[in-house]
């Protein structure tokens, strides 16, 4: 059985402008110790998917309209806030894009890194402080005995992200949700952070859900990739398989628009138009209006294409227009 099994998750936001279907029937599963990637453009629902599982969606306007997220026999979506609190931050850790806004500027790093231990394990102050020093050492922060008593602003961006990772992993969680953890960092720092996440994952056996819009990062860290578009998964496959043999027109378009795949001076491929407005119901294939690589004329118009397995472990939305 999978460690985490998300089935048909639907999260809608009820706003004055209408119902925004941010996540509209997403299913995926995560095995122990593996890394699953979620890629998509802004607004494709990748972050909302993870926030829904963790009960971090502001309600209202948000509402979880349906689905289940089973983690070790508990449905995270219906178990209630009290049960969720036992899991969040203890058995499921999170790191975010911008470590400055997710660390409290008024509190010393030691207080913040040790907080999960004090809350979830009831550890006393002295031991928690010692554990925080150890955790900072494990994520490669030099001179952790002195650094631990400093404030977040005294750390550089890369070091702050290391603090976040130390904090998220201090309770040895079974799952780590990483939401664009390297987007705000320089390439050399990005590599250090990705290597660090991989190393800690090996040592602790943590499973990782990795959210990003950067396909190259996904290809480096993930075992399996979900490509999201307009609140749904359009394609899922093992990372190597997805990049070698992308089937859905959206995945193919994304890979085709990366500068690295172009010869110098060659016109870059661009996906025409904009992602659809998810506050209006989409009846057929969501990608049809922007589909150039397939045959948009053959895209489904009356029903949303279902995700079907076309090869072992390779799932794709079964829309004739996007597959051709």
């Amino acid at each position: 059985m999978s460690l985490l099994e998300v089935t048909d998750l639907k999260t809608y936001f009820h706003t004055r402008a209408g119902v925004v279907r941010a996540v509209d029937g997403v299913s995926f599963s995560l095995e122990r110790g593996k890394t699953v990637g979620i890629v998509g453009e802004s607004g494709s629902g990748k972050s909302v998917t993870c926030y829904s599982m963790l009960g971090l969606i502001p309600m209202p306007p948000g509402r979880i309209e349906g689905g289940a997220a089973r983690f070790d026999g508990v449905d995270l979506l219906s178990c209630g806030e009290r049960a969720l609190r036992e899991i969040r931050g203890k058995r499921i850790g999170m790191i975010f894009q911008d470590p400055m806004t997710s660390l409290n500027p008024y509190l010393r790093v030691s207080t913040q890194v040790a907080e999960p231990l004090r809350l979830h394990m009831g550890m006393d102050k002295r031991r928690a402080h010692a554990a925080a020093v150890e955790a900072l050492r494990e994520v490669g922060i030099p001179d952790p005995e002195t650094r631990v008593d400093m404030y977040p602003h005294e750390f550089s961006g890369g070091m702050r992200q290391r603090v976040m990772i130390a904090m998220a992993l201090i309770t040895k969680p079974e799952i780590l949700v990483a939401d664009e953890p390297t987007t705000a960092l320089d390439v050399t720092v990005q590599k250090q952070i990705l290597d660090l996440i991989k190393a800690r994952q090996r040592e602790l056996g943590t499973a990782v859900i990795f959210i990003t819009h950067d396909l190259a990062v996904i290809s480096e860290v993930c075992d399996e990739v979900n490509v999201m578009y307009a609140g749904r998964v359009v394609e899922r496959a093992a990372a190597a398989e997805l990049f070698e043999d992308p089937r859905h027109a959206y995945t193919r378009s994304l890979l085709k628009s990366i500068p690295a795949t172009h010869a110098k001076g060659e016109e870059l491929y661009t996906i025409p138009g904009l992602p659809p407005d998810v506050s209006r119901p989409i009846s057929g294939c969501a990608f049809a209006p922007r589909n150039q690589l397939g045959e948009s004329g053959r895209c489904l118009t009356d029903s949303r294409p279902p995700l079907t397995e076309i090869a072992a472990g390779h799932w794709v939305q079964d829309c004739p227009g996007c597959l051709s």
């Binding site: 453009e41 802004s42 990005q190 870059l268």
Partner: protein
């Protein structure tokens, strides 16, 4: 004669300590002796990590930060020797495009008023229909629908906002455009649209551009030459293909090795 010439350009910031009697304890050498020549019509890619001084360099070239030493010569004229008034007049010739278009556009001004204001800096006599026509022409130039002229920045997507910011930079008919991380905040599919647009504009309007980015694959794609900056100095400068294929400096090699790549076995 190069179009833009930087010779031994330095921008140092003093670090002061003390409450009443401030004394200089140290200097931050953000830009430390840069020599660079850019030909007309060229796109120069400037890469480096945060804190390496690439933004300070662009601000110094723009005369937004006074240079501590050295010269900035644009089209035969030494900008660093001009009076502040003269710099203001010359600034029309060099414009900037920033990373976050939302932060650099006035949220209370419509597209039309933003662009009209920028157009009139160069042509103050422009009024009425002629002005409206120029705004519409500019919008078409950057691929914006002219029906959006009465809209405000918040009504646009990230990519469209960056198009507005580009249009505004082009309005005073600049000769040199400094693009500071113009695509870093955009999604992959939008990024490719903006890169294509910038490339077309440089070609069609005969612009000279300094393209600053930390993303080497983007710079490799768009730039003719690449300059790698590290601790305020240029450590490597060369033809884009050459730098990517045969990096000479250790720091460039480290940068190249850090780029995540899509691995496929068939390629």
């Amino acid at each position: 004669m190069p179009y833009l010439q930087l010779s031994d350009l330095k921008t140092h910031f003093p670090v002061k300590k003390g409450l009443l009697f401030k004394r200089e304890v140290d200097t931050v050498r953000a830009v430390d002796g840069i020599d660079l020549e850019i030909e007309k019509g060229e796109i120069l890619g400037l890469v480096g990590e945060s804190g390496c001084g690439k933004s300070t360099l662009s601000r110094t070239v723009m005369q937004l930060v006074p240079a501590t030493g050295g010269k900035v010569v644009l089209d035969g004229e030494d900008l660093s020797a001009l009076s502040p008034d003269a710099v203001r007049a010359r600034r029309l010739d060099f414009q900037m495009i920033f990373q976050d278009p939302y932060a650099s556009l006035n949220p209370r001004m419509t597209v039309s008023s933003t662009l009209a204001e920028a157009l009139r800096t160069r042509q103050p006599e422009l009024k009425g229909d002629a002005l409206a026509g120029a705004v519409a022409e500019l919008m078409e130039r950057v691929g914006l629908d002219r029906r959006f002229v009465r809209k405000y920045p918040h009504e646009f997507s990230g990519g469209q906002r960056q198009r507005i910011a580009i249009a505004r930079a082009l309005a005073p008919q600049p000769k040199l455009v400094l693009a500071d991380e113009p695509v870093s905040a955009l999604d992959v599919s939008i990024q490719s649209q903006i890169l294509n647009l910038l490339k077309d504009l440089v070609r069609d309007l005969d612009l000279t551009m300094i393209f600053i980015s930390h993303d080497l694959s983007v710079v490799h794609y768009i730039a003719d030459r690449i300059a790698v900056m590290h601790f305020g100095k240029i450590v490597e400068l060369g033809d884009a293909e050459e730098v990517m294929a045969r990096p000479g400096h250790d720091y460039t090699k480290k940068l190249l090795a850090s780029i995540p790549t899509i691995e496929t076995h068939r390629r």
